[in-house]
């Protein structure tokens, strides 16, 4: 009886897994076969990498990739700095109005930059940051989620360590840097993975703010590539799609454990 349930469990789980991975498999299939073969699902038709070649030449993917890389790095650095400072302030310092500000930070959780798209776009223009990577990243740097996370992490640091460092003569920033930051390393790592995957895949805001290939990230590049006036070519689009998701996907497959742990950790908080 137990083995039957176990079998049914495995069966159900694997069936769902196959269904879940199917779109990716089909895209891979389409990308490595000619369009005609792909749409006719001719199983044993010849493999070809022509689609990848055409797709590669069709857009400056390398530039897009660099832009995306720069973007997530800039955002991450900004987030690290801001959330560390703010998280520490909320965790360990007392000051008037602290609770009110905390509620305001909370509100940012749902006032997403995408929802306020028109005004944020105007704001970025006013700051002269239109069509720049910084302009894409700025609204995300003061991440409420990140502030929460760091606050939790810092709260868990034993007060004795804080006191010990103060007695040794460290200023507040010194204590922060020497005591709290190293202890929160796992949280930083987790947060980094979540942030990178989120912003690597972000679309609507970069669509509005970037205007030229010099700043365009992969997601926007892919959407432009896949929307020509006169029709879509499934194989070429699949090839382009696979190329653009390959970096993150490969990173994920290699560092699976860490990715999952990161999201787990972020979730617990």
């Amino acid at each position: 009886m137990k083995s039957l349930t176990k079998f049914m469990d495995s069966f159900g789980a694997i069936l769902l897994a196959i269904i879940w991975i199917a779109p990716l498999l089909f895209a891979f299939w389409a990308a490595t076969h000619s369009t005609s073969d792909a749409v006719n699902l001719k199983l044993f038709s010849p493999w070809t990498f022509e689609n990848f070649r055409v797709a590669w030449n069709g857009a400056p993917w390398l530039k897009y990739f660099m832009n995306t890389f720069m973007l997530v790095t800039v955002i991450l650095i900004g987030q690290f700095i801001l959330t560390t400072l703010a998280g520490f302030a909320f965790a360990q310092l007392q000051f008037p109005g602290k609770d009110y500000v905390f509620i305001l930070v909370l509100m940012q959780l749902f006032i997403l930059p995408e929802v306020l798209i028109v005004e944020n776009y105007a704001m970025i223009s006013r700051l002269g940051l239109f069509d720049t990577i910084l302009g894409v990243g700025m609204p995300y740097m003061a991440s409420a989620f990140g502030i929460f996370l760091m606050r939790q992490a810092f709260k868990g640091v034993p007060i004795e360590l804080h006191e010990a460092a103060r007695i040794e003569g460290c200023g507040l920033l010194g204590i922060l840097w020497r005591v709290y930051v190293p202890l929160a390393k796992p949280t930083y790592l987790a947060y980094a993975l979540v942030s990178v995957s989120t912003h690597w895949n972000n679309f609507l805001w970069p669509l509005i703010v970037t205007n030229s290939p010099e700043t365009r990230p992969l997601t926007v590049g892919l959407s432009i590539f896949g929307a020509p006036e006169n029709g879509v070519d499934i194989s070429i689009i699949s090839a382009a799609t696979l190329m653009s998701i390959a970096p993150l996907l490969i990173a994920f497959l290699i560092f699976q454990r860490q990715f999952v742990q990161a999201f787990l950790r972020a979730g617990i908080k």
Partner: protein, 422 residues
Amino acid sequence: MKLFSTTGLGLATAMAVGLTAPASAETELTMYYPIAVGGALTEVVDGIVADFEAANPDIKVNAIYSGNYDDTRVRALSALASGEPAQLAVMFSIDAYDLIEQELIIPFEDVATSDADKAWLSSFYPALMANSLIEGKTWGIPFQRSTIVAYYNKDLFRAAGLDPEAPPTTWDEMIEMGKALTQGDTYGLMIPSTGYPYWMFQALAIQNGKEVMSGDGLTTHFDDPSVVETLEFWKSLSTEHGIMPTGTVEWGTLRQAFLEGQTAMMWHSTGNLTAVKNGASFDFGVAELPANVRKGSPTGGGNFYLFKETSDEERAAALKLMQFMTSPEQAAAWSIGTGYMGVSPASYETEALEAYTAEFPPALVARNQLENAVAEFSTFETARVRDGLNNAIQSALTGAKEPADALAEAQAAAVRLLSDYQ
């Protein structure tokens, strides 16, 4: 418009100051353009730009590929609204009214002042200028223009016992031949009703004798009896005659469907010509659209527009660039590479196009159709009015609404939207 007026005005002033201050030897132009065929044509554009820069060392051009027409319009206007300089763009021929309304472009009469310039302005096919002539001035210069053409599979014609050199020339012939061609999994005809349904509908309407909008962009005729009749005809192709699939036909994958033999005839832009030529494993032909009361097709495609917030040097430079890119030789090269039409009669007299069309006659069909071509659908508030028409077409074809009701609704909405402008 808060978005453009406050920020745009302020930044435009700053920009104007910034532009006049440093006296650089080079004029820099930023041009946004859409690629209609997807992919490698950015290289072709880069090549043309390089040639131009070589011939004009004091002008530098940033040609920025921005996606499809809608993307390009959004990009160009975003750039302007943010104070980023852009001097010209290739945008939809039908965006003209909105661009004028937003005070973003200038008419070419303001810059094309020399005799040579004026000759250039009148060197284009008149039918292609129809969308640009508003309030007595020229606001757009044709660059990548098209009409709808009927592609047909000659092999399937032969198999159905029809003469492959005699595609249908009237609606009745189209239905008759369509029925002979519809067998098994293959349909006789597919007219796309997603993507740009209004464009296809315009063709049918003009073939039935009626234009769906007035020439001044202020009135629409959606509920005119012949227009309603047209929509009913379109619907009957699937429901009554069975030569077309029911529901909507997908624009994006139609070319592939044709190449796969899922339909014997398809209506599509001549811009698809090169792609069809390269991808067809069968003998195919291209024909002008059939007539009912008369022959006809709307034009389509993109025009050059010159933005208002530009200095005199930039305008002169931009004009030079446009003249270069629409010169007969360049127009010929562009036409051969894409399937879009040569925009001037002179382009068809170049060696390159003469040779190409002699060897590949389908390339002339769109040009020949210009005789009976009309302007593409364009009014003030064009996006929203057009949306209403698109929805009406799709509702009728999917059976959600009756053609008469759907079009009446679209007309009522259009009247409401246009009332402010009358």
